[in-house]
């Protein structure tokens, strides 16, 4: 994330739209301010950028770069919503669905879930092409106020950064390598950690899916009043566009 804005900015373009940026800003930060939405899953306001999900991939200077980590450059022509990039993003999101056990019809995050919302935004409506991996993952309900259903985890690492950088706890971390890499807790189970329901890492905005669950909330918010019932993911950013 950028520091304080410099007095003089510069301009570059995203899909032909002129954007003003300031030194140190990433492409995504400048785009957000200008009301141009670049899809993302691992990036989250208030957390350091990670650039791991690659859903925010844009073309800049002929290269594919992560918009959340790539600094904006004067005069640069950035490609964001081309058919090629949209297809690539849809493929990435589709693979995330295939890697986990995402059962939207029975998930309490349905309607608030960024993965589901991203699938809608990217028009992931066709029959899936990849074989489901159907991993066998346990639900950790040991904590009195929090449950962890890693069947739904997309390894975005937002909880890890929130716990380390905001809560100063380090409740979550990655274990394993490659396709086996996954988010784990710093203890035997969640009850064995310092996690509290008031932690920023536990808040519903940080976990983009239904993995981190605040107990006994469930379906209290009715269908029709959930976050993405109001509009496509990114609609709030796009509303800033003048």
């Amino acid at each position: 994330m950028s520091g304080t804005k410099k007095e003089t900015g510069f301009t570059f373009t995203i899909d032909g739209v002129e954007i003003t940026a300031y030194a140190g800003e990433t492409i995504m930060e400048a785009a957000d301010e200008a009301g141009v939405y670049i899809p993302r899953l691992c990036d989250h306001e208030g957390l350091r950028h990670q650039g791991s999900c690659r859903v925010c991939t844009v073309k800049a200077g002929g290269r594919s770069v992560a918009a959340c980590t790539q600094p904006a450059a004067p005069g640069q022509a950035v490609e964001n919503e081309s058919p090629h990039l949209t297809k690539m993003r849809r493929d990435l999101v589709e693979m995330l669905f295939h890697e986990g056990n995402h059962l939207c019809p029975i998930c309490e995050a349905s309607g608030n879930c960024e993965l589901q919302a991203m699938a809608y935004r990217l028009d992931m409506t066709e029959t899936t092409r990849f074989p489901y991996l159907e991993p066998c993952r346990a639900l950790d309900a040991s904590h009195p106020d929090i449950a962890l259903d890693t069947n739904r985890c997309i390894s975005c690492g937002r909880c890890i950064r929130a716990s380390e950088d905001v809560d100063g706890k380090g409740v979550f971390g990655y274990v394993g390598r490659g396709i086996h890499r996954r988010v784990a807790v710093n203890g035997e189970n969640l009850a064995d950690t310092d996690a509290q329901v008031t932690d920023h890492a536990i808040s519903s905005e940080v976990c983009p899916v239904g993995c981190i669950i605040r107990k006994r909330v469930g379906f209290v918010t009715p269908i029709g009043e959930r976050e993405f019932d109001k509009g496509l993911i990114g609609h709030e950013i796009e509303a800033r566009r003048k």
């Binding site: 019809p105 029975i106 309490e108 639900l139 040991s142 449950a147 469930g218 009715p222 269908i223």
Partner: protein
């Protein structure tokens, strides 16, 4: 004398779920054995274990796409008990009731007009291509239109109370997650008079059919049995959402009454048989031979002392008059009973829509947590029992479901045998029309075989004919 035969009807059509019928004919073409087999298995009771308690009403409703509200509400009632809530707020209870009445209405309308009407209008032995809803619409366009619009009304009530027409999320442990906005209420009130009129006409249609075919109704799958349902605790009135358990014998003798449904397991024993995935429940004190019972619309008409809405109560009196107040044992009378319940639901919805509690904002009650919860409701097809245990981590450790079609298992098998004996015995040639008679008997119970086996899969029914040695002689598979 001919060779013994085995007839197989596979799949049974115009029912929800997957089943087949086998009929054994001996060398004299007499029916030796006839059975309804449920050939699907789902395992909801097992895979719900480990899930979080507030997810349960949303997960288990996926048992069914026709009556998910019943499972949603029965599970929610069980979770109320676990959440320590014995009394919902008025808004929550009335919203749930409204949801349930919408559900019973749409399900009954679906069954009567879309699934059963082709048999009743065109005859049990009518050509197969004639026996479908499209032919009903073609020949009786006004009836077809009403069938669609009445179902739509019920579905929209569900959508307004649960968030979606199918598989909503309205009922949550301890209450409901929404109230009914005034504009939605007014929308429903706008056509409630029309719904009442159409429901009255539907009762008349079913009644007239029953009375005009008195001899057929009296002999077709008609046999004595016990009956069980919830009734209102205070006065024994019909209550589809809540009450205590009552059971009657075929002659009207009270077998038990005013029993809290949390004690269901003291009364009911579930038997298993090797040839079906569906269990065979019976009243434990009486035993499996005589303790089996029927549930559903006709059972409720038999057990209820009265109905607390005037039009439906008048219709009930007329139905009861046919058997002079004793239980009605005719399988086909289920259709008449079903339409009386549609009328009751419409009357109840009118009552509720005028109640300002539906716009209340006190939606959720709380209480002291329990480890076990039992929720029972009268689903469209009959009594529905959900029983769960939840550990200190909020995870389900035990689940037992007894659904309406399971309660009716023995009754449906008896109906199949009864009709097979009367309509197939002694016949050299077995036609498709004859076999449809067997399906008509099953259909009268509006079975949901998916619910009953808690099963995944397609939805057909099949009939098989075996010889005396058990060899398959003939089978028929039908698709809807």
């Amino acid at each position: 004398m001919s060779e013994p035969r085995l007839i197989e009807i596979s799949p049974v059509t115009r029912v929800e779920g997957h089943g087949k019928v086998t009929i054994h004919l001996d060398e004299n073409n007499q029916v030796d054995e006839a059975r309804l087999h449920i050939v699907e298995f789902r395992g909801f009771e097992r895979f719900i274990r480990g899930r979080l308690m507030w997810e349960v009403p949303v997960i288990v409703q996926r048992l069914c796409g026709i009556c998910p509200v019943s499972h949603h509400l029965a599970a929610a009632k069980a979770m109320d008990m676990i959440a320590g809530v014995d009394q919902l707020t008025p808004t929550a209870e009335k919203m749930r009731r409204l949801m349930h009445y919408g559900q019973v209405m749409q399900s009954h309308v679906l069954h009567f007009f879309h699934l059963a009407a082709p048999d009743l209008l065109f005859g049990f032995g009518a050509p197969a291509e004639k026996r479908n809803i499209f032919e009903v619409i073609k020949e009786k366009p006004e009836l077809g239109k009403r069938a669609i619009l009445m179902r739509k009304y019920g579905q929209e009530i569900i959508e307004a109370t649960a968030g979606k027409k199918v598989h909503g999320t309205g009922a949550i442990p301890g209450g409901i997650n929404r109230n009914l906005p005034v504009e939605r209420r007014d929308h429903f009130l706008g056509s409630i008079d029309e719904m009442t009129e159409w429901a009255q006409d539907a009762v008349k249609l079913a009644r007239d059919y029953t009375l005009e075919h008195e001899d057929l109704v009296a002999e077709f799958g008609s046999f004595p049995s016990n009956y069980m349902s919830l009734v209102r605790e205070s006065d024994g009135a019909l209550d589809l959402y809540h009450g205590t358990l009552r059971a009657l014998s075929s002659t009207g003798e009270m077998l038990f009454d005013q029993v809290p449904y949390s004690r269901y397991h003291e009364l009911i024993v579930e038997d298993v048989r090797s040839w079906s995935y569906m269990k065979f429940p019976f009243i434990g004190d009486i035993g499996p031979d005589d303790g089996w019972y029927r549930v559903g619309p006709l059972a409720r008409m038999n057990t209820a002392s009265f109905i607390d809405t005037p039009l439906a109560d008048a219709a009930l009196k007329e139905l009861k008059a046919v058997t002079c107040g004793t239980p009605n044992n005719s399988t086909l009378a289920n259709h008449w009973a079903r339409m009386i319940e549609v009328l009751h639901c419409v009357e109840k919805m009118r009552e509720l829509l005028h109640d300002p509690d539906l716009q209340g904002t006190d939606l959720i009650a709380t209480g002291d947590r329990r480890e076990e919860g039992i929720g029972v409701i009268e689903a469209p097809r009959g009594n529905l029992i959900h029983h769960y245990k939840v550990d200190e981590h909020d995870q389900v450790t035990y689940c037992n479901l007894i659904v309406s079609t399971t309660h009716n298992n023995e009754g449906m098998n008896r109906a199949v045998k009864d009709v097979a004996i009367k309509h197939l015995s002694g016949k050299e040639q077995i036609t498709e029309g004859m076999l449809n008679h067997v399906e008509v008997a099953i259909r009268a119970y509006d079975p949901c075989l998916s619910c009953a086996t808690h099963a995944l899969g397609q939805m057909p029914l099949q009939v098989e004919l075996f010889n005396a040695e058990g060899g398959l002689l003939d089978s028929r598979t039908q698709c809807v």
